[in-house]
């Protein structure tokens, strides 16, 4: 079943220590404005009473995560005061003393221990086909590396600066619990997760449908169809109590203070534009690009009047609302409808033909991807929400491995514009090479007797990422266009990567609807 105990702990420890070494070495690397965001939240939660947390506006980086994360920052602030008390003063905007940097970086590294624990639990859940002769070839080992050393997570958390490791730890732990049949724990963890970062609402539908179908309905008919008589109200009630109490704990204080509308407006700021300053490689990036192309074409062919067009600044790097020139404008409601349409088939699928925990996980990935592709104001970092859980499926099924390679490589490359500083350039190239090389060679070895994981067309597409990167980062900055059209490399990167991600989305759907081919027969639970 699970990997043998002897030797398991030692290699896992080695992997953890190794990646932690890299994390420590990255303490001095560039950090983005997210660093100031979190310092500000430390200050707000430490210095101000709870009633002011969601009203405080001294800094532009207002608190826009759910209450549990605010309490998390509050807890951290009590350790922060031993490093440098000045960072906890709200007025000290952009305060970044060496002690502050050290504290914040260390806090990310240490909260990553949650992620490490979750990865360990996930590794226990994956099984290998044949008994591997060496540990390095076992699915558990490969999964541990793919998760612990994930390129995206490393650069977003430990260079750019965020707490995704901790949050993904809670998410993966919840997934592991579902694999292990401990559904109530899984549900509890997910409820907690939603109250830590509400972006995980993207995958809430998958949880909802899966738990209703596979947990509340105790047994199916012999042909697999629904048997409503087996619906367990007790289980539903248990789930309800757990979820409601978690939300009550989280939002209760703010409900009591009559601050709920304010909190919600902070959590869902729809005044921001369709796309982030740098377009996430999703459907709307292609839509925007098409709109731009058509407007340029229209002007050239004299079909459009330049004066009547709105000032083109969608690509100006500002986060504001703008209208499209040629194609119809998109509102938040439209994106919501598109998202729901894109994930509904998957939800129906696991309702009518549940495939156990793995089917649920695949549905999670599809929900995450669908929301990424069609959501409102999506950050490119959200691609990690699809890549990380897909890793678990990738080590068990050849088809998933193929999709994973495309999605991970493309998704990771789309994160490159996040790190635009020169000293970090070699590091991101090296780490990307490391992860990509490892993922390709290890997954290929895992499914060795079978033929290639990716076909020729896919290989050509992925190879195209290299000249794209060289052009965008090395050649273009040396041209004169860099001054006049600075957004071109970003546009090219997100458009090119969008194709790969959309393709992966459809491939995943194909696998879900067709039914995956595993290396061994397993019973779904």
């Amino acid at each position: 079943m699970a990997a043998p105990r002897d030797g398991t702990l030692s290699w896992f420890l080695a992997l953890t220590l190794g990646v932690s070494l890299i994390k420590f070495l990255l303490i001095k690397a560039y950090h983005s404005t997210d660093f100031e965001v979190h310092r500000n939240w430390l200050a707000i939660t430490h210095s101000l009473p709870v009633s002011k947390w969601y009203f405080e506006e001294t800094s532009e980086w207002t608190l826009d995560y759910p209450p549990f994360f605010a309490w998390f920052e509050y807890g951290l602030s009590h350790i922060a005061k031993y490093f440098d008390e000045e960072m906890l003063v709200v007025q000290n905007l952009t305060y970044a003393s060496p002690a502050t940097i050290l504290f914040q970086r260390l806090s990310v590294i240490f909260t990553d221990l949650v992620f490490v624990y979750a990865v360990k639990e996930c590794c226990k859940c994956v099984q290998g086909g044949k008994r591997p002769r060496d540990i390095l070839g076992s699915p558990s080992f490969v999964l541990a590396v793919l998760l612990l050393w994930n390129f995206g997570l490393l650069i977003v958390d430990h260079i750019h600066f965020q707490y995704n490791g901790f949050l993904f730890g809670v998410f993966l732990l919840s997934v592991a619990r579902h694999f292990q049949g401990r559904h109530l724990e899984g549900a509890f963890l997910f409820a907690v997760l939603l109250n830590l970062k509400h972006i995980y609402l993207y995958i809430a539908p998958a949880y909802g449908i899966y738990l209703l179908r596979s947990f509340c309905l105790i047994q199916d008919n012999s042909d697999g169809s629904l048997k409503w008589r087996n619906f367990s109200f007790i289980r539903l009630a248990a789930l309800g109590i757990i979820v409601c109490s978690v939300f009550a704990l989280s939002f209760g204080p703010f409900l009591a203070l009559d601050q709920l509308p304010q909190v919600l407006s902070r959590l869902f700021p729809f005044k921001r534009g369709l796309c982030h300053a740098y377009w996430a490689p999703n459907f709307w990036a292609l839509y925007n690009a098409a709109d731009k192309a058509l407007s340029v074409l229209g002007i050239k062919l004299k079909l459009l009047d330049v004066a009547k067009l709105p000032k083109a600044s969608m690509t100006g790097g500002l986060v504001q609302e703008f209208q499209h020139s040629v194609l119809p404008s998109v509102s938040p409601l439209i994106t919501l409808i598109c998202t729901l349409i894109s994930v509904s088939p998957a939800l129906f699928s696991i309702w009518h033909r549940p495939c156990g925990a793995r089917g649920f996980l695949r549905c999670c990935v599809i929900c995450a991807l669908g929301s990424f592709l069609f959501g409102w104001h999506v950050h490119e970092k959200a691609i990690l929400m699809a890549i990380l859980p897909l890793s678990i499926l990738a080590v068990e099924s050849k088809d998933d491995a193929g999709v994973f390679l495309i999605l991970a490589t493309t998704g990771h490359l789309s994160l490159f514009p996040l790190l635009f500083t020169t000293p970090e350039f070699p590091i991101k190239i090296l780490l990307m090479l490391l992860f990509t090389l490892y993922s390709f060679t290890s997954l290929k070895r895992l499914f060795r007797p079978e033929c290639c994981l990716i076909n020729t067309v896919e290989s050509v597409y992925l190879s195209g990422l290299i000249p794209l990167e060289i052009f965008c980062e090395l050649i273009y900055p040396l041209t004169s266009w860099q001054q006049t059209f600075p957004f071109i490399p970003l546009l090219l990167t997100s458009v090119y990567c969008a194709f790969g991600i959309i393709y992966s989305f459809f491939r995943l759907y194909g696998i879900l609807l067709r039914g995956p081919r595993y290396t061994t027969k397993r019973k779904s639970h």
């Binding site: 190794g18 070495l25 070839g137 000293p423 590091i427 090296l430 090479l433 060679t441």
Partner: protein, 425 residues
């Protein structure tokens, strides 16, 4: 997984570790007026680019030898010249004569770090080491590539040791694969890059001489000897060419390379003389000349047993042991040793692994060092002995190195002359 994939991953890990270390500050950052090793390297680019070759090693109005004068052999100078040409294409301010002293900027730092990284000549050498089996290969590779000493000194502090160490490693590999000429060429280049490689020179000499001897000094051996000598002499000549036309030039370069006036040792270094100095102030008691003769004599004595054994039995295993012994002996007994020179010995030592003795020694060393480090951090030294802890650390380390020297000499000398077993290590 295929060997090439594992090796490439190890190499990438090594490079990543180096680049992340290079994000930190370098030696002498913002420390006017002298700054540090980083400024020394930049200054050599300035000197080699702007001044004619005949002035590089001389004290002139344009070249003040007191301000980081060149004290490495010509290949370092040519390397600096190459970097200077690239620097000139990017920003001539970096190497402007006189005006660029102490130049510091983020762009310049990136450039210097990049020149540092592009000299990772030794990395491919590890990929083709035929003497290691797979699992040992990956773990040994990681050990060597992630060796903190070299990373910190080269990528942190700022030096170019990897170049000479890499060339020396190519030399060892060449000899190991039977390519004596290529190996000799590589080592000659290493020696022409940093004179510290003299620590390894004797074993190369004795091994090749012994090998020629075994082949028969009248037949094939003589031909090989002639070929090797020619290779070495021609490569030396090519590297030192500009300085061979004028004997004054040659002498001045040698004078710069071996600064005899600086005394037996400087600062705290974990060798015999520094440790002995705690009890007997030899640095002040003896004249400089006597010190030179003393260290020369003791070094020669220390390498004598290992050299003789290597000459009698010139196998590759003996050669590797002799490299270790020679570098240790030179470190412990020779003149004007810097603490960074221990890199040479440790580097050799990393390629030996499976002996219980080494593990025990290692454990003991770690415990002692941990104890001493803790004391240095936690306690204040007594007022009369402000350098107490660094000196204790050096002395302790010296004792360990002496232990290693004894051990490796024993291993080399006690290998029976008739045993031909190939040590797969």
């Amino acid at each position: 997984m295929e060997t090439w994939a594992v090796a490439s991953i190890c190499v990438l890990l090594g490079l990543t570790a180096r680049w992340t270390v290079s994000l930190n500050s370098y030696s002498g950052a913002s420390k006017a007026p002298m700054f540090g090793d980083y400024e020394a390297q930049r200054h050599w680019q300035e000197v080699t680019f702007n001044l004619p070759v005949r002035q590089w090693y001389f004290n002139t109005t344009d070249n003040d030898l007191k301000y980081w004068g060149l004290d490495y052999p010509p290949l370092t100078a040519f390397h600096s010249l190459l970097c200077a040409h690239i620097a000139n294409l990017i920003n001539p301010d970096w190497i402007e004569l006189h005006k660029s002293r102490g130049y510091e900027s983020p762009a310049h730092k990136f450039f210097m770090r990049a020149t540092e990284m592009s000299d990772k000549l030794h990395l491919p050498a590890h990929n083709i080491n035929p003497f290691l089996h797979f699992f040992f290969q990956s773990s040994a590779l990681l050990c060597i590539l992630l060796y903190p000493g070299l990373i910190l000194i080269d990528n942190g502090h700022f030096q170019y040791n990897s170049v000479s160490l890499g060339l020396a490693l190519w030399g060892v590999l060449g000899l190991g694969c039977g390519h004596d000429l290529l190996g000799s060429l590589a080592f000659t280049l290493a020696l022409s890059y940093k004179q510290m490689e003299l620590y390894h020179a004797l074993p190369f000499f004795w091994y090749l001489l012994g090998k020629c001897g075994k082949l028969g000094l009248t037949g094939k051996g003589l031909i090989l000897l002639v070929k090797i000598s020619l290779t070495v002499l021609v490569s030396f000549a090519l590297c030192w060419l500009p300085f061979l036309f004028d004997p004054q030039q040659t002498l001045q370069v040698i004078h710069r390379l071996f600064p005899m006036a600086r005394g037996l040792f400087e600062d705290k270094v974990a060798n015999v003389w520094c440790s002995l100095n705690i009890l007997v102030k030899i640095k002040t008691l003896l004249s400089v000349d006597t010190q030179i003769y003393l260290s020369f004599g003791t070094t020669l004595l220390a390498v004598l047993p290992s050299s003789i054994k290597l000459l009698m039995k010139p196998t590759f295993w003996q050669f590797r042991l002799a490299l270790m012994n020679s570098s240790l002996a030179f470190f412990l007994f020779s003149f004007q040793v810097h603490e960074k020179s221990i890199l040479l010995a440790i580097w050799r030592g990393l390629t030996f692994r499976n002996t219980l003795f080494i593990f025990l020694q290692f454990a003991l060393s770690v415990l002692t060092m941990a104890g001493l480090s803790f004391m240095s951090a936690a306690l204040e030294p007594p007022a009369k002995l402000p350098d107490l802890f660094p000196v204790l650390v050096s002395a302790c380390a010296c004792v360990h190195f002496l232990g290693f020297l004894l051990y490796f000499n024993l291993v080399q000398l006690t290998e029976s002359p008739r045993s031909d077993k190939k040590k797969i290590n």
